[in-house]
Amino acid sequence: MKRGPSAFNIASVVAGLAFLHLPIVLLVVYSFNASRLVTVWGGFSTKWYGALLRDDQLLAAIWVTLRVGLISASLATVLGTLAAVALVRSGRFKGRLLFSGMIYAPLVMPEVILGLSLLLLFVAFGLPRGFWTVTVSHATVTLCYVTVVVQARLISFDKALEEAARDLGCTPLKAFFAVTLPNIAPAVAAAWMLAFTLSLDDLVIASFTSGPGATTLPMRIYSQVRLGVSPEINAVSTLLVGLVATGVIAAYLFQNRRRGRDA
């Protein structure tokens, strides 16, 4: 007897979702506002999108952000998947507690602390701050998210499959690549996407660890936001929201279709 949702249930869900989505919807709507005043509707226009294309600084920031995201997400996915395998498959090993602590702590640790500590590391080693320091910092933080996502999938993965592969003559390494990895691939892909999005999104850590010539998009947006609301930011935000939403919804539909096929 699964009770359906009551009126109260429906009301809370609708109100909650409205609260979560309304501000973003307003932001998107006003990116098409012809008026420079954000709150006055001056008719439909795409001129702010045109303005974006002429903003060289902004374009440069987008380019930096994409490169940082691609490289750091890939790095984090490899390292994070390894960490997940280690945590799930090898039972107890020396330093496990410390290891799992290092995985979970960055998930909740205030970004300001992470940024500050990474910056001090780079300063201590005399490394010039720039593109690579941001990339490495993002990889470090997003690695932990990757581990959590992949770990969840690995736990539900039937270990007998891997053992069957071993039984049929695979080395542990071969068994991992031939059987385990193809089966956890959707989770690994999702983890990569998460890492990429987090990198795309990050302001605080990038502000600490970046240097001249490596201004990321959030840093650029932040410096403009401090000066006030402007339709250009609405436009670039809309593009970013649209990009991410498309990716996430596509991934969701893809996964749903797979599930439908499996069932």
Binding site: V13, P23, I24, F93, G95, A105, S117
Partner: protein, 298 residues
């Protein structure tokens, strides 16, 4: 098992990586918090004089002291911002629980297919840039913003919320709502329906069954959600910076200001260490709870 040592080797790479880029930097923060400011680049002293060899290292350690911490306790600004950070995070966590629980519970009551879509709808903002979501509220809350436009249409008095503590609360609740809803939903959705039937069979009304069975069983989710929100909120920077006023004191903002504006790196480090010391217990709690949940799922 021959496989053990090999997976152990695989674990070594991320382990080393985190050791170098996560663990070690904290030692540096701790060290820096014991240093003094200096008009140099980087702006702190002492630094190890490697050319002097062992004597240089000794001199370095001798120069470390707790002066920065002493300075922090003398300045009421730091203490106020410490307390107000905890206050913001605690109150916001409470509000999040009150708002998030009915949402998560409501979601869990829908049919499985609808639940998937609802989950998606809750997760979607989480994938959207944090900065952009906070920025979206500026347009809503500012004096000539959308909220006031809306209110004035109904002849209601205008509200000046931007750059107030209220705006910070709105921002915190808004930004962290998915983090509260998701762990709650995860435990509520898994709940065995036959337990509710058993409670009804043993004489519980729906409300009684909720308080005697559903709610106690969802406590791990309540704990996870509360920790997941509370810890990062204590150190939140973007929200108080963009939505709060000049009087809004939060540690994240303090660290940022000390670091970027005042170039007082030791002070920033000391504040970070103080914050970390406060958060160590919740962080350990969170880690233990996550590990336990994973063990249970095995």
């Amino acid at each position: 098992m021959k496989g053990r040592p090999r997976t152990g080797l695989a674990a070594l790479a991320p382990f080393l990586w985190l050791g170098v880029f996560f663990l070690f930097p904290f030692l540096l923060v701790a060290k820096l918090s014991l240093s003094d400011t200096a008009l140099a680049m980087p702006p702190y002293a002492p630094r190890v004089d490697w050319s002097a060899g062992w004597a240089g290292v000794r001199a370095f350690f001798a120069a470390l002291d707790f002066e920065t911490y002493a300075r922090l306790t003398r300045d009421s600004l730091y203490i106020a911002s410490y307390l107000s950070s905890l206050m913001f995070a605690a109150v916001a966590t409470g509000i999040l629980l009150v708002i998030g629980y009915p949402i998560a519970y409501g979601m869990s009551r829908f049919a499985a297919s609808t639940r998937q879509a609802l989950l998606m709808a809750v997760i979607l903002p989480f994938w959207t840039s944090f900065l952009i979501r906070v920025y979206a509220w500026i347009a809503v809350l500012k004096p000539e913003g959308l909220l006031n436009t809306f209110l004035s249409q109904f002849g209601l008095p205008e509200l000046n919320l931007l750059n107030t503590d209220t705006a910070v609360y709105i921002g915190l609740v808004y930004a962290y709502l998915p983090f509260m809803v998701l762990p709650l939903y995860a435990v509520l959705e898994k709940q065995d329906q036959s337990l509710l039937e058993a409670a009804a069979d043993l004489g519980c009304t729906r409300t009684q069954a909720f308080w005697r069975v559903t709610f106690p069983l969802s406590l791990p989710g309540v704990g996870a959600g509360a920790l997941l929100c509370f810890i990062p909120m204590v150190g939140e920077f973007v929200i108080p910076d963009l939505l709060g006023g000049s009087g809004t004191l939060m540690l994240g903002k303090t660290i940022w200001t000390e670091f970027f504006a005042n170039r007082d790196w030791p002070a920033a480090s000391a504040v970070a260490i103080a914050m970390l010391a406060t958060l160590v217990i919740p962080i350990v709690l969170y880690q233990r709870q996550q590990t336990k949940m994973i063990e249970a799922g095995r």
